[in-house]
Symmetry: C2
Subunit: 284 residues, 2 copies
């Protein structure tokens, strides 16, 4: 039996299953201090029976380099108490199982990649647009780490002509993509969420324009065939269509193979991350 | 003996060597119509003795998918006569050797990656800034193809406050990166090359600002440890330093592992592409 954790800033999703795409039981616990949260999670897994392996899809930034003595840790997070916590180490010791460890978005990318796998596509990007904007990238079936892991939300988009005054909410960059198009950026600017704003409000076009730049840039940099857009903001009616339209306007049919490139919703709905965690367990 | 071709829009560089990093002989021919150019190249190789394999690093866009009946072709280029030409097919038939085929920048990325290879880095991007702007990406030692190949020059950068009037020279996108920071874009705007403009001219900061956005975005999207900047425009005194400075200002130390990320000149000087072609031959 495989175990999976999608470790988020507000909640931990726990699941067990015989295989990644068959979740047998799940449980959600609120994220509190690390000691309480991790102990609660371990208690739940112990009640499910003996695990063969555990996968953790974690909020970041994290250390993914298996050769590092800090592998499996969350590094510097503003979340009190969590900087330097070794999620992987805790569960290895407590549950005595092999542990796989990835960013939440790389794990979600793995799951969405697996849900579509075909001979033709060997890469996929998964981007979540919610409290923050983060992206995971699978190339040749393997999550991309580089020096650490991608942080796609912090690219610098061109400003929309109708959105030049707002400074952006990113504490590091101000008006990077996350600072302009994340949930908190939308609320800071227009006082409510994108779903709550009327469908003819300029906010829809502005947010779509920024997210389309992420897609266009990802296509241009990696020629990835599929970008999956998930997260709370993407639940907004009509937003996916607007993003596609703006991405197409930005590209003007230029990129080679662009007729084969698609922007999609998650095939796994809200289960991309937890399914990815179970894949990490299977591969651990 | 390995043979290599760096096939460019104005010249073809031909080389032979016992291994990719030991070029024994080289020859440069001007790019004319395909029949004349390819026949001249083949004649030269035949005079060098029997090749074991040939690698071609080509200008694009090209078909890299080995399973496609159009593998080894240049697709739609404004260069008269070259659209649909099968470079790989021609030399397979004429020289009766296995042929490797890549974009010029993916091949250069392979060569620069090989020139630095160490246990720590498994990815590298190579970007040329010249007549056009193009980028190649090697991840896990393998060039990234995706649906075709990256076209990094066509990302859409944020405009510099001191450069808002110029429309850009890209026939597809106007003011994409290539439309703003390539050699022709610089000449169109300021009437001479960047090297010819005084070192205190605003052009230096403006071009550096755009190229730094490419670097920052590549770091954010792929967490690549090394970006190599080559090409004629990068020969400008002081430009590399300015790009590094602007990239650092854009990131503000945020990206995880950014202290391990570097922007460098080509270790192989102007030989990145032709060396890459010989690597393609070795791997063919």
């Amino acid at each position: 039996m495989l175990g999976g954790i999608e470790a988020g800033g507000t909640k931990f999703v726990l699941a067990v299953g015989a295989s990644p795409y068959e979740i047998a039981a799940r449980h959600v616990i609120p994220t509190r201090d690390p000691a309480t949260t991790l102990a609660d999670a371990a208690d739940w897994f112990e009640r499910q029976g003996r695990l063969s392996a555990l996968g953790i899809a974690s909020f970041g930034p994290v250390v993914l380099d298996r050769a590092s003595p800090r592998w499996g840790q969350i590094t510097t997070t503003p979340k009190p108490g969590w900087s330097g916590c070794s999620l992987a180490g805790f569960f290895e010791r407590r549950l005595q199982v092999p542990v796989g460890f990835e960013t939440d978005v790389n794990a979600a990318a793995l799951a969405e990649f697996g849900a579509r796998e075909s001979g033709e596509n060997n890469s996929l990007a998964y981007v979540t647009v919610g409290t923050g904007i983060g992206g995971g990238l699978v190339i040749g079936g393997v999550p991309v780490h580089g020096v650490a892991h991608p942080e796609m939300g912090h690219m610098i988009p061109r400003r929309h002509p109708g959105d030049r005054v707002f400074d952006g909410v990113c504490p590091h960059h101000g008006d990077c993509l996350e600072g302009l198009a994340s949930g908190p950026a939308i609320t800071a600017r227009w006082g409510m969420s994108l779903s709550e704003l009327p469908s003819n409000h300029a906010a829809h076009e502005i947010v779509a324009f920024y997210l389309a730049q992420l897609c266009h840039t990802l296509f241009a940099m990696t020629a990835v065939p599929i970008i999956v857009l998930g997260g709370g903001v993407m639940q907004t009616d009509g937003l996916l269509g607007r993003v596609r339209q703006h991405a197409s306007l930005l590209d003007r049919g230029y990129l080679p193979g662009s007729h084969c490139q698609r922007i999609e919703t998650p095939k796994l709905g809200e289960d991309s991350g937890i399914t990815g965690a179970l894949i990490l367990a299977r591969n651990a």
